[in-house]
C-alpha cells in the first residue's frame, strides 16, 4: 500500500548539510539538528508513513496564516504557545484531547507551564515540547574581578533595585565594562519579558482582564525606571542588536547578558574551551527578584499543533504516532537548553545532568505564560516591548510610553 502522507511544518532552520541523514538523535546538537534528527528517526521507524517536512522562516506565522486562509494548511505545525490562541480562537486548529488520548500521551504528564500554555477554553490545542524563559547569563571571570562573589565562589546577586544599581556601579569601576549586556537595537524581546517577569513577581496582574491591558501602574513604572537608570548611567551596553549582544557577551563586553534559555548550551561549550572571555567563567541564574514578591517567570513554549482539515483515519493515526514520538523524545529536545515539557523528563537524572540545569530548574515550576485568553500575543509583546524600549532609551516619557502601550494594545485587542 502507498504510505500515508502527513505534512509537518516547522521553523528552526535547515541544516541538511550536517544532519540531513542523521537518525541518531542523541548525536545531534542544536535546535535545528535535533528536530531534523527527530523527524528523520521517526520516518526511519515508520516506513509506512511519509513525512513531508515544510521548513519555514522563523516564526513562519505569515505563511501559516496564508496557508490557513487558502485552505491548504500543513497537518502539524510548530507554534508558540503564545500564538496558539490566535488560530484557535478562529477555529482553525483541531483540539488534541482525543488525539493525544488515542496516541497514549497523557496531558497530565506535561509540566504545569506546558499544560497551561496549550490549554485554551478547557481543551488542549498543542503538544508542548518545551518552556523557555529569560535568564541572567553571567561572566564569572568579570564578577570575580569585580569582587561580586561570595567566599564559596558563588555569585552575589542583587536583592533590590538599589543594590543592583550599586553592584553595577562597582562592577563598572572594577572591570571597566558595563554590568549588563542587552540587545536594545530593534529587539523588543528582552524588554517585554523583563516586564512580564517582574510584574508577575510583584503580583501586578496586568492582564486581569485578558481583553484589557493595564500597564500604567506604579509597579510597571518602577521596572522601567530601573532599566532606564541603568541605561542613563551607562551601566549597560547600548545599541547592540540581538546578534551583536550575543557576540558582545562572548567577547567580554559586560557582565550579565539578558537572554533566553536557548543559549545556555552554546555558552557552556564556550566556557569549557580555552582562550575566550567565558573560559571557566560562565554560569546562569534566573532573574533576581529585585522588586521582591514571589518568584515567577514569564515563559513561552513551543508546541506542535494540528490544523483543522479533512483527514483519513490512517492520517490521523500517523499523526498520533508522530505526536507520541515527539513526546517520547522530549528529553533530546531539552538538550537544546529549553526546559522540557514532560514532567518526567525534568525529574529524570539524565536531564539534571545537563549543564546548569539545577540553577534553572525552579523555573519549570514557577514559569508563567500570559493568560491563554489574551489574543495576538506576539503583537501585544511587540507593542509593549517597543514602548518600554522607547521609555528606557529616553525617547519617550515613562508615563507616556506606558499609556501608549495600554491604548495600542487595548485597541488591538478590541478589534
Amino acid at each position: 500500500a502507498d504510505p500515508v502522507e502527513i505534512t509537518v511544518q516547522r521553523f528552526f532552520g535547515t541544516c541538511d548539510a550536517d544532519w540531513g541523514t542523521n537518525t541518531d538523535i542523541s548525536k545531534a546538537i542544536g535546535e535545528c539538528g535535533i528536530i531534523t534528527s527527530q523527524i528523520n528517526k521517526f520516518a526511519a521507524d515508520n516506513p509506512d508513513i511519509k513525512v513531508n517536512v515544510n521548513t519555514v522562516e522563523w516564526p513562519g506565522y505569515d505563511q501559516l496564516t496564508a496557508q490557513l486562509a487558502s485552505g491548504e494548511p500543513p497537518d502539524l505545525v510548530t507554534i508558540h504557545e503564545s500564538v496558539l490562541s490566535d488560530y484557535q480562537s478562529k477555529g482553525l486548529l483541531q483540539p488534541l484531547d482525543e488525539v493525544l488520548k488515542s496516541a497514549g500521551v497523557d496531558p497530565a504528564g506535561f509540566t504545569a507551564a506546558g499544560r497551561e500554555g496549550v490549554t485554551k477554553d478547557g481543551q488542549i490545542f498543542g503538544l508542548p515540547i518545551d518552556s523557555h524563559t529569560m535568564l541572567w547569563h553571567i561572566n564569572m571571570n568579570y564578577f570575580r574581578k569585580a569582587g561580586l562573589v561570595n567566599a564559596d565562589g558563588t555569585l552575589i546577586l542583587p536583592k533590590t533595585a538599589d543594590e543592583l544599581l550599586a553592584q553595577a556601579k562597582q562592577f563598572k569601576e572594577k572591570v571597566g565594562k558595563p554590568y549588563l549586556v542587552q540587545s536594545m537595537a530593534n529587539e523588543k524581546g528582552a524588554f517585554y519579558r523583563a516586564m512580564y517577569i517582574y510584574l508577575t513577581q510583584m503580583k501586578s496582574d496586568f492582564f486581569a482582564d485578558p481583553t484589557h491591558l493595564k500597564l500604567n501602574t506604579p509597579e510597571a513604572k518602577k521596572i522601567v525606571q530601573l532599566f532606564k537608570d541603568i541605561y542613563d548611567q551607562d551601566l549597560t551596553t547600548k545599541d547592540q542588536d540581538y546578534a551583536a549582544s550575543l557576540s558582545g557577551f562572548t567577547k567580554g563586553d559586560g557582565g550579565v547578558l539578558l537572554n533566553g534559555t536557548w543559549v545556555v548550551g552554546d555558552f557552556d561549550a564556550l566556557s569549557k574551551a580555552q582562550g575566550n572571555a567565558l573560559s571557566d567563567g560562565y554560569t546562569v541564574y534566573p532573574y533576581p527578584p529585585v522588586f521582591g514578591g514571589t518568584p515567577a517567570y514569564w515563559s513561552d513554549g513551543h508546541s506542535w499543533a494540528l490544523t483543522k482539515k479533512d483527514r483519513s483515519p490512517e492520517q490521523t493515526a500517523a499523526i498520533q504516532k508522530f505526536l507520541k514520538f515527539m513526546a517520547d523524545t522530549n528529553f533530546e529536545w531539552a538538550r537544546t537548553g529549553h526546559l522540557p515539557a514532560q514532567q518526567a523528563v525534568i525529574d529524570s537524572a539524565q536531564f539534571k545532568a545537563l549543564p546548569h540545569v539545577t540553577t534553572i530548574l525552579d523555573i519549570a515550576a514557577t514559569a508563567k505564560p500570559l493568560p491563554a485568553q489574551v489574543r495576538h500575543q506576539f503583537a501585544v509583546n511587540d507593542i509593549i516591548g517597543e514602548e518600554v524600549a522607547a521609555a528606557i532609551m529616553g525617547q519617550k516619557e515613562i508615563d507616556a510610553a506606558l499609556a501608549d502601550a495600554e491604548t495600542r494594545v487595548n485597541d488591538l485587542l478590541a478589534n
Binding site: T7, F11, F12, G13, T14, C15, D16, A17, D18, G20, G30, E31, C32, N52, V53, N54, T55, V56, E57, W58, P59, D62, Q63, T65, A66, Q67, A69, S70, G71, E72, Y242, A243, L246, S247, T250, K251, V263, N276
Partner: protein, 282 residues
Amino acid sequence: MTGANIGMVRPRIGDVLIVLLVVLAALIMILPIAWVIALSFKLNQELKLDTNAVFHAPYTLKNYLDVLGGSNVFRWFLNSVIVSFGMTVGVLILSSLAGYGFARLRFPGRDILFVLVLFGLAVPEQAVIVARHQIFSMLKLHNTYPGLILPGLAAPFGVFLMTQYFREIPKELDEAALLDNASRFSIFWKVLLPQTIPAQATLGVFTFLGAWNDYLWPLISATKKEMYTITTGIASMQTNFAQTEGLGFLMAQAVFAGLPTLLVYLFFQKYIVAAVSGRAAR
C-alpha cells in the same frame, strides 16, 4: 561625444576631483558587497568572536557547502527559473500585444483604458495582496506555477514601455505592410515585433530580475516546500535568530541568492544599459 572635447586644451582640477568623487562613490557601492562576500568565506565560530577576522586566514567554503547541502536548493532554483521565465515570457507577450494595440490601433475607449493602465503603476502591491490571495484561494492557484506567475503579468510597466516603443517605430512601416497585403496580426508579428527586440530585451531582463527577487507573494502563495522559490527557500533555511547561528552562513546565503541576478546583469549589461537609456526616458 563632441561636448567632451570642449576645453580639452588643458586638464582641469575639477575633472580630477570629479573622478576622485566618482571612485569614492564606487567604493561605497562595492564595499558592502565585498564585505559580505568576505564574511561568507569565514567560519561562523570565528566571526562570532570578531568580524575583523575576515582580514586573515583561514577561509572556508563550508558556508557554501551548507547552502548547497540544503536538499531542496536545486529544486528551488528550478522553481525560480520556471517562474521567472514564465513570467518573462508572459509579460513579453501580453505587453507586446497591448503595446501594439495602444500605440497603433484605434478602438473605442482606447485612451481611457491606457490612462487606467497608467494608474495601475501607482497601486502598491500591499493594496491588492489580500484580495488577490483570496481570489487565488478560490481558484486553487496557490502552490502552483501559474499562481506564482500570474500576478506578475498584471504589471502595467511593460505595457507602458512597449507602447512607447511601438509609437517610435515609423508608421510608414505598417503602411508598407498594409499595401503588401499583410493582415493586422502579421503586421504585428512579422514586421513590427522584430523591431522591438531591444525593448523586449530590457523588459525581459527587468521582469526576470523582478520575478527572481520577488519575496512577499511567493512567501504567502507558495507555501509548500517543493514550491518555494530560491528567495523564499533560502530565507526558510535561516535558523531563528539566524545571525547568531552563523554570520558566515547567512552571508553565503545572501551571496548565493544575489549571484544569479548579478550574473544575469553582467551578461546582459550592454543591452540593459542601452535599452534603459535609449527608451524609457521619453
